[in-house]
């Protein structure tokens, strides 16, 4: 047996024994750092002995050739199954040539020992060359360490070459490192909160720990021109990183030993075992897998924040977009906050004592999409204990929260709030789902991350180019109260954090508490609870036949109003999208959409199902509590109104209508005008008669108002309730308080027949200009004689213009059609008007329909041409 082969034999058994011993020690102590350094020394010894045997028996020879440990090995972090990074360093090409054989022999032997080498070979000069395509190699040099061979050579590498290289190439190095890191993060959805995270590569993992060290090192080295004397990371960040590294080391060793290979995925089974063996938390009390994962996420978050901080603070590491932003002129200004280098600073550091300041800070973040500076975060962390004693609550909190949720950068602000523990301060209901791992095969992220991601999916709709996304984006833009949808998304899975058989029920209960604390109004509260309670409804319907009219009808009835239907459709879209990146397949997106339009059409076509006797219990109860005497007459009033009337109006609104109806004895025309959240609202209550709706819309046209939505209903007692939501194009009402009264009087006069509507319209016409048409809408006039048993349905789709509605309704009036119900809506520049028509109490005959269609087409053409 040759010396070499006996050496191999010896080394093989040495390696096997020592590896077993290290594994055994680790299984007892669960000390990752010790295991890792023991393995490092083991491999070192093997490499050194092999070198002496095969390359050179001299103590520090041969001259001009050396073996260097790089990367993780150089750092002293060798995990049981990770690759061993080494560098064959040559003084020059000559050395490379002459040692070719021994390098081959050495590599062969080490492979035979089943050691996974990752070797590189370079001359000293080659090391100094920086290749922007291969920043990894240069970075691995930062961790280089002498193993065997020419000491001087390695000393030249470390003491001279590397500092020179870094000083010269700091910028591209930092940029390259930052870019590679960002790409890696993007692959993992930019979040630490995976259900089965990859300890090495995922954000907040070991790779990120190294990145933090490198960023700081390169930065200081380039300033000093030499290796820094002390660790470049400071204070609390350094402590957090060290604690995280301890934990992650233990966890990664555990995974390697468990899997017998370089597998860094924390599968569920692994989580169970890690928790049982208290890996990384040896002193802890016995803990569940979910608790153990919370410890992991705590460390991962800290690491991610440290890296994010460094990426923000080192200008060379900025993304190209950020560098551009810095050069823009406009600077967001505020008396409370200043923005320096794209980060938010407080004008006065003590100001966070005021809880309202905290809310304003996050609103500012959500509005501008900027991050907090390290100093601000620090001040925040200091202020938290005091804020925890008396956290903001009630209507003020809800007001800020609403506004924040609607801002374009809300998801980023929410994530920042969450990672700084502010979100759970403001909404303790979220504590139960904080970093919560729930095991099912579809979800990729923790429950809290899922909820925030769902909100982000909706915010992102506007930027998407995909055809599907644009349809949903249109729906989103039509919502009256999108903030309710966002709040529902935030709370919809809170039930998963408490043991229960049905997480929907549990979420409802928890959300109820939250809504109480935020002092949310009754109608809004009911909407949020409706969304949460029904959040699985559309998905459930995908398992049925979505083209079956009965399925669609049942679903639509459950939704009740188009507004709620839209909200639930968007909630479903967001919920599925946030499960995992592939969850919203075209199959699902198409089905959800088809179900939506089926239900939307159904709601339009079934608006005339009347209320009889059995009135909505909840509304009745509420009415009675608001006005016991008048409320009792509710049944009488509501009899004969379509169901839609009850669903669309709140109890308070219905009460107002009843009060107005009560006064009809004194004034036959009751008109109410008020400013709503998005639009003005004009309500008319009066006795039914021909051309009423046409006259009402005429008044609005004559005053230059633009009708956005409207509903017209009547009950069995022939009392009409018409509600018109409009915008004030010429700001008449906004600029002149007195005009409010005049407008109302004008409406009453026209409806009472004492004012000349035609003259008013003519006067207005003279001053009109035509609005620019951005999207051309073709006129469509469709009749449906089947949908209702008592009326003929008419749907008109046309280019939205001033006076459009008045033209249509006057035409219908002239054609002797009675409008039983009107549902008026606008989508961008498209007007969508639905009418339930009768003539002499019956449906329209075919001949009549034709006449009406012709007349409408003619009138609309005239309107188009400006006459």
């Amino acid at each position: 047996m040759t010396a070499a082969s006996s050496l191999i034999g010896e080394l093989r058994s040495f390696l096997a024994e020592e590896s077993a011993r290290i594994a055994h020690d680790f299984s007892r102590t669960a000390d990752g750092r010790v295991a890792v350094s023991q393995r490092t020394r083991l491999v070192e010894e093997i490499l050194q002995r092999s070198w002496h045997e095969l390359v050179s028996a001299e103590t520090a020879g041969p001259c001009g050739f050396a073996l260097v440990a790089t990367g993780g090995f150089g750092r002293g972090w060798l995990f049981p199954y990770s690759d061993i990074d080494i560098l064959f360093l040559h003084a020059d090409r000559g050395s490379e040539e002459s040692h070719k054989d021994s390098v081959r022999q050495l590599s062969q032997e080490l492979w035979d020992l089943k050691l996974k080498l990752s070797p590189a070979s370079r001359t000293l000069a080659e090391c100094e060359r920086f290749d922007p395509e291969n920043t990894e190699f240069t970075i691995s040099l930062l961790d280089s360490r002498y193993l065997a061979g020419d000491r001087d050579l390695v000393a030249r590498l470390r003491d001279q070459l590397i500092p020179r290289l870094v000083a010269r190439q700091a910028k591209p190095l930092l940029q390259g490192l930052a870019e590679v890191t960002r790409e890696r993060h993007a692959k993992f959805g930019d979040t630490v909160f995976h259900l089965e995270p990859n300890l090495k590569e995922a954000p907040g993992g070991l790779r990120d720990c190294n990145v933090a060290g490198w960023l700081a090192l390169i930065s200081s080295m380039s300033k000093l021109g030499d290796w820094p004397a002390a660790n470049s990371l400071r204070g609390p960040v350094r402590k957090q990183l060290e604690a995280a590294v301890e934990f992650l080391m233990a966890a990664r060793c555990f995974l390697h030993v468990r899997h017998g290979r370089d597998d860094n995925s924390l599968s569920w089974e692994a989580q169970d075992e890690a928790a049982a063996r208290r890996i990384g938390v040896p002193q802890h009390e016995p803990l569940t897998a979910a608790d153990w994962m919370r410890v992991y996420f705590g460390h991962a978050r800290a690491v991610q924040r440290a890296v994010a901080q460094l990426l923000e603070e080192i200008p060379e590491a900025w993304s190209s977009i950020r560098s551009q932003v810095r050069n823009w002129r406009s600077r967001p200004s505020s008396p409370d906050f200043s923005v320096v280098d794209g980060m938010i600073f407080l004008q006065r550091s003590s100001s966070l004592q005021d809880p309202e300041m905290l809310l304003r800070l996050f609103h500012f973040m959500a509005h501008h999409g900027l991050k907090l500076s390290a100093t601000t975060e620090h001040s925040l962390e200091q202020a938290l204990p005091a804020l925890a004693v008396a956290p903001p609550r009630g209507a003020e909190l809800w007001l800020y929260l609403q506004e924040t949720l609607l801002q374009p950068h809300a998801p980023e602000a929410l994530r920042a709030m969450h990672s700084l523990r502010v979100l759970t301060l403001l909404l303790p209901e979220l504590k139960a789902i904080d970093s919560l791992v729930v095991r099912d095969f579809y979800h990729r992220f923790t429950v809290d991350e899922h909820s925030i991601l769902a909100i982000e999916s909706l915010h992102r709709l506007n930027q998407s180019q995909s055809e599907w996304d644009r349809r949903y984006a249109e729906l989103l833009s039509e919502l009256e109260d999108p903030e309710l949808l966002y709040l529902a998304l935030l709370l919809h899975d809170t039930g998963k954090g408490v043991p229960s058989t049905n997480h929907v029920e549990a979420s409802l209960e928890i959300a109820g508490h939250c809504l109480d604390r935020l002092d949310v109004e009754a109608e809004e509260r009911s909407t949020v609870l409706f969304l949460i309670g029904n959040h699985l409804e559309m998905s459930a319907n995908l398992r049925r036949d979505i083209f079956n009219p009965e399925t669609v009808a049942a679903f639509a009835e459950k939704m009740g109003t188009p507004e709620r239907l839209k909200m639930l459709c968007l909630l479903t879209y967001a919920d599925i999208k946030a499960v995992n990146p592939e969850a919203l397949t075209p199959w699902k997106a198409e089905n959800v959409w088809q179900l939506y339009i089926g239900a939307a059409n159904y709601l339009n076509r079934s608006a005339d199902q009347r209320v009889h006797g059995d009135a909505n219990g909840e509304k009745l109860a509420r009415l009675r509590s608001l006005a016991p005497v008048l409320g009792a007459k509710y049944k009488e009033f509501v009899e004969g109104f379509p169901q839609r009337y009850l669903r669309v109006h709140s109890a308070e609104e219905i009460l107002r209508h009843m009060e107005m109806a009560d006064r009809l004895g004194r004034d036959a025309v009751q008109v109410d005008l008020r400013r709503g959240r998005h639009w003005y609202e004009l309500t008319l209550v009066t006795r039914d008669r021909p051309s009423l709706f046409a006259s009402l819309t005429g008044v609005l046209a004559a005053w230059g108002m633009n009708i956005v939505k409207a509903n017209a209903f009547s009950n069995d007692a022939a009392t009409v309730v018409d509600t018109i939501y409009f915008t004030d194009r010429f700001r008449t009402l906004e600029l002149n308080l007195s005009e409010w009264e005049r407008f109302k009087q004008s409406a009453v006069a026209v409806l009472a027949g004492s004012a000349d509507l035609e003259k008013m319209l003519r006067d207005r016409q003279r001053g009109e200009k035509h609005a620019r048409i951005k999207v051309v809408v073709e006129t469509r006039i469709d009749f449906d004689d089947e949908a209702s048993s008592t009326s003929t349905l008419l749907q008109v789709i046309a280019q939205d213009r001033p006076r459009l509605l008045h033209r249509i309704t006057s035409c219908l009036s002239q054609q002797k059609c009675n409008i039983e119900i009107a549902l008026i809506d606008t989508e961008g520049q498209m007007a969508i008007d639905t009418f339930y028509l009768t003539s002499e109490g019956k449906k329209l005959t075919a001949g009549h329909r034709e006449k009406v269609a012709k007349a409408l087409h003619a009138d609309l053409r005239d309107l188009e041409s400006g006459s």
Binding site: R543, E590, N591, Q594, G598, R780, I797
Partner: protein, 112 residues
């Protein structure tokens, strides 16, 4: 060994799965698919725009079974998936040359 492929209505998936489990079928693959046979597509007009679906969403089941229970499985699917209307779907049978279990390289009907 026979591969059984069945294209069925979405709403029948649960019923078919239960029926197959009852006769001892232990494994299957479920896919979300779109397609059509003679069933016409569906057009819905929403706000003046037409949304046509000529590839209708369906569910496809695939399983490889020992020949002994193939006919029982086919009957189970027929009974549980049928509504009697156009669009109920179809079942296809093909012969399979070999089946291998990845975990332990077991072959043949034992691997099913």
């Amino acid at each position: 060994m026979t591969k059984v492929e069945a294209v069925i209505q979405n709403s029948k998936l649960d019923a078919v799965k239960t029926a197959l489990q009852e006769i001892g079928v232990e494994g299957m693959t479920v896919l979300e698919v779109r397609g059509h046979g003679r069933q016409k597509g569906h057009t819905e007009v929403y706000r003046g725009r037409e949304y046509s679906v000529d590839l209708i969403p369906k569910t496809k089941l695939e399983m490889v079974l020992p020949d002994a229970i193939v006919e029982k499985a086919v009957q189970a699917i027929l009974v549980s998936a049928r509504t009697g209307k156009i669009g109920d779907g179809k079942i296809f049978l093909t012969r399979v040359d070999e089946a291998i279990r990845i975990r332990n390289e077991e072959r043949g009907e034992g691997a099913l």
